[in-house]
């Protein structure tokens, strides 16, 4: 009989707020992040990058660089594997340009030298001749008939005939008859929305330290959200056997999706192989902006019909996503998330993945969903205004519930949207009076959440404590959550458990820390591994007592006979079983390897008050409340932190942050001075309400919380600003100049 510790109430450890296990290292400066590692004989590397948005590479001459003091190796595309196909080819093409530089900042060569200064001097001495080609950076222009073609033949079979070759993927889904639905409406609003590309903005630039020998064996240390993926990709790009490259994930200084991709690690390894020495490679902030993961920029059209009583009769959206010079913009997810919060009889969504001369887009916290919500929730807000309806009541009236057919196909299991709306409505924020010049905005948001391939290994020590190896880099306190879940099953104190992030040689495969999957999937795996160990502990007790295994159960760290019939034995503590485990059958460990598929979707409702200065056009967020369904909050403080962090990133996206390209196709603001993320003085305290509607697919009901928190803010803030300014804002970011323009045109109109 398999042990099952599933429960949704009566927790002893889960739901408490202990100190995180890596806290001391992180407040004393001794935590080791990507750039903090060194190796004997280590070289420093730097990357030569294209200054052009689109150019044919005619010649690369490194003669002068190689002659410089301290320079040990130069690599170009010729130093990587040939004959790659599919996504591996795309990644290699992005890591090191082939015949053509596809965006400002595209890598064309790299140097390793004895000092960082020598490496930086040497890349200036590498000569590159370019033939400049026409470029395009805007999504709508990239789809136009006269747009330069980024790469012919990049489109897949999903793209209908007749579209520009820069349209590389197409998505369409929905149900019903939207035209019939619009005909039933009392009011139909259709509007166009635009968002600019933003960057994840993690404070730690990408960094790695690699060693690769001519024997094909390598070691790599890097900051990444998924080191098994790094292992797999680097092996492919360098022509290695995957198992011969051991990858260790450093502490990670923020990722938000941007560190799910591989950028510099293959370059460090290629340089190391050529120089036969360890090579450290750390990006500058400008390189992070120019050559790593921005989001897609978007151009969107949304049309929604509503009856006077607030019933939505039909909804339709078209979402065009610019994803840089490679396929991959999340056009499906954008389209699928757009109307997910609503129970719709007639709905249709269309997505386009469009290439342009910009860096390859990377995931950023619920990829695509925030932009879709901005467009959809703005139209719903406008409908509520015009029909004089309460925005929360209207959303409640149309909300997806258990049994609703989702806008993109499936029928919802138990979900928590209604609970978030009801909690938002009951929150004092929603009924608080506004000051003059302020407006209030509401928005819902949705994210799928994810399971994915997962391995966890748990080993008991002789003193009855436990060590757990998980493979998902800890990007927000997950080691604490894993220890809490294991405590719950083992019945031993949180402090008795040590959780580490294992390297690729020490544990089975683990998918990246993405899709809000860690607390769900690694958590489930930790629970199952702990159950596996508990079962073995019970078996040892049964053998000692001479009774059947199923006559023993586990409670609060003790093996106990299951009832009077099992025999009269004093409860056996874990430490007594582990103290003699060598003699009673050997070490006791627990394992779990699987691809959990019960991830539970999550919804959120945000309330924002914004104040607009009509003279300067600047906006201040004066009050912010996040209400989100966590399923079960394992460590509530860190759940709050995810809610607050997502809201803050959303505030930046809505008000300040954007990639600005010049006419020459070059990025104009590749630094934190000109790409302004929110600072402490920009923000208010961010209030949080944790709703817990258990996910039936997780033993403790966990849904995962990292991404949904960034889905509503763009729309909620846009609705608040539109209310405060008295004019609908349809383009992000709502920087002061844009607000002044909107105010002027409203005054003229």
């Amino acid at each position: 009989m398999a042990l099952d510790s599933s429960k949704t109430t009566g927790f002893k450890y889960v739901g408490t707020r202990p100190d995180r296990p890596d806290g001391l290292d992180k407040v004393t400066g001794r935590a080791r992040f990507g750039a903090d590692a060194t190796a004997p004989g280590m070289l420093f590397a730097a990357i030569k990058r294209s200054p052009h948005a689109h150019a044919r590479i005619l010649r690369i001459d490194a003669t002068k660089a190689l002659a410089m003091e301290g320079v040990k190796a130069v690599v170009t595309r010729a130093d990587f594997a040939e004959g790659l196909t599919g996504e591996n080819w795309n990644i290699l093409e992005n890591v090191m340009a082939g015949d053509t530089a596809l965006y400002d900042g595209h890598a064309v060569a790299a140097v390793a030298a004895t000092t960082a200064l020598a490496a930086r001097d040497a890349i200036k001495a590498i000569e590159v001749d370019y033939e400049i080609l026409p470029h395009v950076t805007d999504v709508d222009k990239a789809m136009a008939p006269d747009a330069p073609v980024i790469r012919a033949g990049a489109a897949d079979a999903s793209v209908p005939e007749g579209l520009h070759p820069n349209v590389v993927r197409y998505h369409e889904s929905g149900h019903g008859d939207v035209e019939a639905g619009f005909a039933e409406a009392d009011l139909v609003i259709e509007d166009h929305f635009v968002t600019e590309a933003t960057h994840q903005g993690y404070i730690e630039p990408h960094a790695c330290l690699g060693t690769l020998g001519t024997d094909g064996k390598g070691e790599l240390w890097c900051c990444t959200q998924g080191h098994w993926n790094v292992q797999k990709v680097c092996a492919a790009l360098l022509g290695l056997e995957t198992s011969q490259l051991r990858v260790t994930a450093s502490e990670i200084g923020g990722g938000f999706g941007g560190k799910t991709a591989v950028f510099i690690e293959p370059v460090a390894l290629a340089l190391s192989r050529k120089a036969n020495r360890p090579v450290k490679l750390v990006m500058t902030r400008a390189e992070v902006f120019k050559a790593t993961g921005p989001t897609s920029s978007t151009s969107m059209d949304v049309k929604i019909g509503m009856k006077k009583d607030g019933t939505i009769t039909a909804a339709q959206g078209t979402f065009r996503l610019q994803g840089g010079a490679f396929p991959g913009a999340p056009c499906e997810m954008t389209a699928m998330c757009a109307f997910a919060p609503y129970d719709l009889k007639h709905v249709k969504q269309v997505g386009y993945d469009v290439m342009a001369n910009r860096p390859k887009q990377a995931a950023y916290r619920a990829p695509g969903s925030p932009m879709a919500a901005f467009a959809v929730e703005s139209v719903i807000d406008e409908l509520c205004k015009k029909l004089d309806l309460d925005p929360i009541d209207t959303r409640l009236k149309n909300a997806s519930r258990e049994g609703t057919r989702a806008s993109f196909g499936p029928t919802w299991p138990r979900i928590g949207l209604v609970e978030t709306l009801e909690a938002a409505k009951a929150h004092p924020h929603y009924s608080a009076p506004l000051e003059p010049g302020q407006g209030r905005g509401i928005s819902c948001g949705f994210w799928f959440n994810h399971g994915g391939e997962t391995s966890v290994s748990l080993a008991l020590s002789e003193d009855g404590t436990a060590q757990i190896a998980v493979g998902t880099p800890d990007i927000g306190g997950s080691r604490a959550s894993m220890a809490l879940m294991a405590s719950e099953v083992l019945g031993i104190p949180y402090e008795d458990i040590r959780v580490i992030i294992a390297d690729t040689a020490s544990l089975g495969y683990n998918e990246i820390s993405h899709g809000s999957r860690v607390t769900y999937a690694s958590g489930l795996a930790t629970i199952k591994a702990a159950e596996d160990a508990v079962q073995k502990l019970c078996a040892r007790a049964a053998a000692k007592w001479g009774i059947p295994e199923d006559a023993v159960y586990w409670e609060d760290g003790f093996a106990k006979p299951s009832g009077p019939n099992a025999g009269d034995f004093a409860p056996l503590p874990i430490a007594e079983i582990t103290a003699t485990m060598g003699a009673t059958g050997g070490p006791i460990s627990g394992h779990f390897e699987a691809t959990p598929e019960g991830a539970g979707v999550s919804f959120a409702t945000h309330i924002v008050d914004a104040e607009v200065d009509r003279e300067t056009g600047s906006t201040k967020v004066v009050r912010y409340t996040v209400v989100q369904d966590a399923g079960k909050a394992v460590h509530p403080t860190y759940v709050e932190g995810q809610f607050q962090g997502g809201a803050a990133q959303g505030i930046g996206w809505a008000l300040n942050e954007e990639y600005i390209y010049g006419e020459d196709g070059r990025l104009q603001n590749a630094g934190f001075l000109d790409y302004r993320i929110p600072v402490a003085s920009d923000l208010p305290m961010i209030d949080t309400v944790i709703v817990e509607v258990p996910n039936p697919g997780h033993p403790f009901g966990v849904r995962g919380v990292g991404e949904t928190s960034i889905c509503p803010p763009l729309a909620a803030i846009a609705n608040a600003v539109s209310a405060a300014a008295g004019v609908r804002m349809r383009q992000l970011p709502m920087r002061p100049s844009r607000i002044l323009e909107a105010l002027d045109s409203a005054a003229d109109g």
Partner: protein
């Protein structure tokens, strides 16, 4: 390739090093002295992850040359705790979960300690403006501000 010889004091200890005239104080701390607590987030003085104090003044160590450390007293995150005793700010940051990834934490601790030395009773607005030069992308600052305010209150009570 002539290097400069520099004598300075870091976290109370006499330190000598040779550095290239172009090397920043941050480069020297991290690459020559093994003090990797200060982080390079931008290299342009915009993120504050490399914050240290120089003769009691809060600076971005990426904006100062290593050679300029001559004769100065430098304090980094590694010197905040005294032996096994953590500074109250360090304790509160753990207790409040005022960090998620922790990359900005060293700079924020150095900056917050510097604030409390100058102003033991700051308002929330003063804390927010003092820390406006220290970017954090994970937390939305909420728990950081609360941790600093509560530390200040506790230190006032203790003194």
């Amino acid at each position: 390739m002539s290097k400069l010889h520099v004598t300075t004091k870091i976290n109370g200890d006499e330190v000598e090093f040779l550095c290239d005239p172009r090397e920043t104080l941050l480069d020297v701390l991290r690459d020559r002295l093994g003090l990797t607590g200060a982080k390079e987030g931008c290299g342009t003085g915009d993120c504050g992850a490399c914050s240290v104090t120089v003769d009691g003044r809060l600076v971005c160590s990426c904006l100062m040359l290593g050679a300029e450390a001559e004769g100065k007293e430098i304090a980094t995150v590694e010197g905040i705790a005294e032996g096994e005793a953590l500074h109250p700010l360090q304790k509160k940051f753990i207790e409040y979960a005022a960090l998620q990834c922790g990359i900005c934490t060293p700079g924020i601790l150095v900056a917050a300690k510097n604030l409390l030395e100058k102003n033991p009773d700051p308002t929330e607005e003063q804390v927010r403006y003092w820390l406006a030069g220290n970017l954090c992308r994970c937390t939305g600052y909420d728990k950081i501000i609360r941790a600093v305010m509560d530390t200040a209150a506790e230190m006032r009570e203790a003194s």
